[in-house]
């Protein structure tokens, strides 16, 4: 560690910001920003290991985060009454048939020793027939399932397990998807890989939005169980009432602060765990190998390193981390809303975090996640204040002033753009540059 003091200063500055928000706005707000900051930090750790340490451009953050969210639904929601008997098994078997046929066609593609055109024809025929077969099998059960109390359920439901299990499962789901994506797309060079991952993540979101039997689609899944107690329960507890009396804060507020603190506690444990694992990995020979591949693929290849395999490995690890963070985010929200997954908010914002913080440095990614998310939330009040300040000499009835005040919330996009451009121009290594090892 070359500059421990500097990193410590940055983090204490950030800490001070939260205290200021707590003092001047509210502690509730400070804590909710803090929780989301931790999640953002974990997501940017995932991108950092891919981009900062292996040079892989992954623009699919949104998709992996949404898969983590899906894990919440699958793990923690109660199973819908009768849904499995009515058609759940048929749907699953239809999908399994389709996946098996895809594997078959991949196998044939590798084994068959014939002219390429014939290969295309054969694989297309296999995949098309199995697709229509799958549609034939699943179309009617999907309709039945979606018509079981559509206002309340209308989907398969989950396994009714504790929600915390969904975090590792979310990571696993993301890792499996990353394996499939990596197998097909990692051979592409950077620009294409960026566009391909962005496209695939959009496809994932489209599936989640429209397959109601799986995730209720745009109807959202509400009321996900929590790993922490509910505010109402806390308010009747004696010790909570005592704290409220002692600190002279209203009971509802103190209970919601306690809930948020317990979330923060859980999240910090995960963040530190992932950080330690990543630091160990990157200091090990494996980490050196990754950086060697990033810096010069050809010579690493000449040294006998299997670049394709390493890239796939690091792609899966990074995506799994994003999946875990996505699952945590959905647990924190308490609901799964496929519509809320936007590339601007997930993919590109996380990339800004990594670039600002300093690609290649885990501490940098964490501080980047904290700073950017903090400003993403606080840019709105800052923008409003700025415009009110600039136009303070204009009368309130002025059309331009009211228009500006109305649209001040969009200042944050501009802020983010400017921050990113300025960093890339004047400090391309970010706030905490990569450690020279």
């Amino acid at each position: 560690m070359q500059n421990k003091n500097y990193i410590l200063q940055l983090f204490s500055c950030m800490f001070l910001m939260f205290i200021l928000v707590g003092l001047f706005q509210s502690w509730n707000l400070a804590l909710s920003i803090f929780n989301l900051c931790i999640i953002s930090a974990i997501m940017s750790l995932g991108i950092n290991i891919q981009w900062g340490n292996a040079g892989i451009v992954n623009f699919g953050v949104m998709g992996f985060a949404a898969l983590g969210g899906l894990a919440n639904v699958i793990i923690s929601m109660p199973p819908t009454h009768n849904a499995w008997e009515e058609g759940g098994i048929l749907i699953l078997s239809g999908i399994v048939i389709f996946i098996i046929s895809i594997f078959c066609s991949i196998y044939l593609w590798k084994k068959l020793n014939i002219d390429k055109k014939k290969k295309y024809v054969i694989t297309t025929i296999i995949i098309a027939t199995s697709y229509f077969l799958m549609r034939y099998i699943i179309d009617i059960p999907i309709q039945t399932i979606e018509s079981i109390e559509p206002a309340k359920t209308g989907y398969l439901g989950g396994f009714d397990l504790p929600v915390i299990i969904s975090w590792p499962i979310g990571g696993l789901l993301a890792a499996l998807t990353a394996y499939a994506i990596g197998k097909i797309a990692l051979g592409l060079r950077s620009d294409y890989l960026a566009i391909a991952t962005l496209g695939i993540s959009e496809i994932i979101i489209y599936v989640l939005k429209n397959e109601d039997w799986l995730s209720r689609g745009v109807k959202n899944v509400n009321g996900l169980p929590r790993p922490v107690p509910y505010e109402i329960e806390l308010q009747s507890k004696q010790w909570v009432i005592e704290i409220a009396q002692f600190t002279n804060v209203s009971l509802p507020e103190i209970s919601s602060i306690i809930v948020k603190l317990s979330y923060s506690f859980l999240f910090i444990i995960i963040l530190i765990g992932i950080l330690i694992l990543l630091e160990i990995a990157l200091k090990s020979p494996w980490g050196r190998m990754m950086r060697a591949i990033r810096d010069n693929e050809v010579s690493a290849n000449a040294m006998g390193k299997n670049i394709k395999k390493r890239h796939l490995q690091v792609f899966i690890i990074g995506s799994a981390i994003i999946g875990i963070a996505g699952a945590m985010l959905t647990t924190l929200d308490g609901q799964f809303t496929p519509v809320s997954y936007q590339p601007l908010r997930f993919t590109f914002l996380v990339w800004i975090m990594v670039i600002i913080g300093g690609s290649g440095n885990n501490f940098g990614s964490i501080i980047g996640g904290f700073i950017i998310w903090f400003f993403w939330i606080q840019a709105e009040p800052i923008g409003l204040w700025l415009i009110a300040f600039i136009t303070s000499y204009v009368s309130d009835s002025n059309i331009i002033k009211s228009h500006l005040l109305e649209n001040a919330a969009h200042m944050r996009l501009m802020f983010m753009g400017i921050i990113l451009l300025v960093t890339l121009r004047f400090a391309p290594k970010g706030l905490i540059p990569e450690v020279k090892r």
Partner: protein, 336 residues
């Protein structure tokens, strides 16, 4: 007669919308391709440039309508298009001067410039929402249809109607005009040739006395024009919302890659391939089968390959397939 009805149905729901959407995508993809071949990076901010162009068109349309200047049956936006184009070009040039120029001189990796273009995307998106707001804006005026479904039915006596919206007609005609102009410029004029030379081999072009600054300037002029026209036409046809233009970037990239990155002809073909496959795959074929086959053997159900909700996802699926099978695209372009 049934056969003609079927044809009309396809023309009304696939061919005309496909040609319109394809033209819009083709113009967008051309912009991305030109930037890619000359300046060597994937410009993620292109959607926002289109959005910026549309925004200026809308503001000018409002201004002109207030002054009482109209273009008869055509939308006023067509009249203000030249001024909007100039403003968009000006914006592109400013962005280039303050942002992209630095990385060009540094000879940065194309990935870095790509990330820079994301910064530009954020900034422009914020600026646009700041000026015009995030809401839906409909700025279409003039006559709605060139050919009404009713008139068509009365003329031909068919069951199915064929309607052509003014915006669809204008889009297709303007696209043909613009593409023709662009190819004439690239292939016949001296400046266009020098631009092609520069994109083929920068060092050689510099040696033979081509002024790189001029090439860059012309590249942005072309890009700004294409972006403004494509954006305005898309906004006229659907309706303008800053948010949708961010999502338009991916189909446009898909079009550029499917056609073969770095090849202008490929970009146009790619645009139409994407547009038509979106429509063909999500079209419900039930009615057509009723016209073409005996009533009894038509199966129940809508006979869609994918539900309409997946319309835009189709372009991404095609993109992924093309990247897998033939990364160079239909017309062999440069591999990034």
């Amino acid at each position: 007669m049934d056969f003609l009805n079927g044809i009309t149905l396809i023309a009304n729901y696939i061919i005309i919308p496909g040609l319109t959407y394809g033209s819009q995508l083709a113009l967008g993809a051309l912009g991305i391709t030109i930037i890619y071949t000359v300046l060597r990076f994937s410009n993620f901010a292109h959607g926002e440039f289109m959005s910026f162009g549309t925004m200026t068109s809308i503001l000018l349309t409002w201004l002109f309508s207030n002054l009482g200047i109209k273009l008869g049956i055509f939308p006023t936006a067509i009249l203000v298009l030249p001024i909007a184009i100039l403003i968009t070009i000006f914006y592109c040039l400013i962005i280039d001067k303050f942002v992209f120029k630095f990385y060009r001189q540094q000879k940065s990796k194309s990935v870095i410039t790509l990330i820079v273009s994301i910064g530009v995307m954020f900034f422009s998106g914020g600026l646009i929402r700041f000026i015009i707001g995030p809401g839906d804006k409909n700025f279409f005026d003039g006559e709605r249809f060139i050919l009404k479904a009713k008139t068509f039915k009365a003329l031909t006596g068919l069951n199915e109607g064929l309607a052509i919206k003014t915006t669809q007609g204008v889009t297709i005609i303007l696209t043909i005009l613009l593409v023709f102009l662009l190819f004439w410029f690239l292939n016949k004029t001296k400046t266009g040739k020098s631009m092609r030379a520069y994109s083929d081999n920068q060092e050689l072009a510099l040696l033979s006395g081509i002024n790189p600054e001029k090439v860059v300037l012309i590249t942005w002029i072309i890009t700004g024009t294409l972006a403004c026209v494509a954006g305005t036409l898309y906004g006229l046809d659907k309706s303008y919302k800053p948010f949708t233009y961010l999502h338009l970037v991916l189909p446009i990239f898909a079009a550029a890659i499917v056609g073969g990155v770095g090849n202008p002809v490929g970009a146009i073909i790619g645009g139409f391939v994407i547009a038509f496959s979106e429509l063909f795959i999500t079209f419900a074929y039930k009615k057509i089968f009723y016209y073409l086959l005996p009533y009894e053997i038509v199966p129940s159900g809508l006979l869609q390959i994918l539900s309409t909700d997946y319309k835009i996802a189709v372009s991404f699926i095609i993109l992924v397939l093309v990247l897998l099978i033939k990364p160079t695209g239909i017309y062999k372009g440069k591999v990034i």
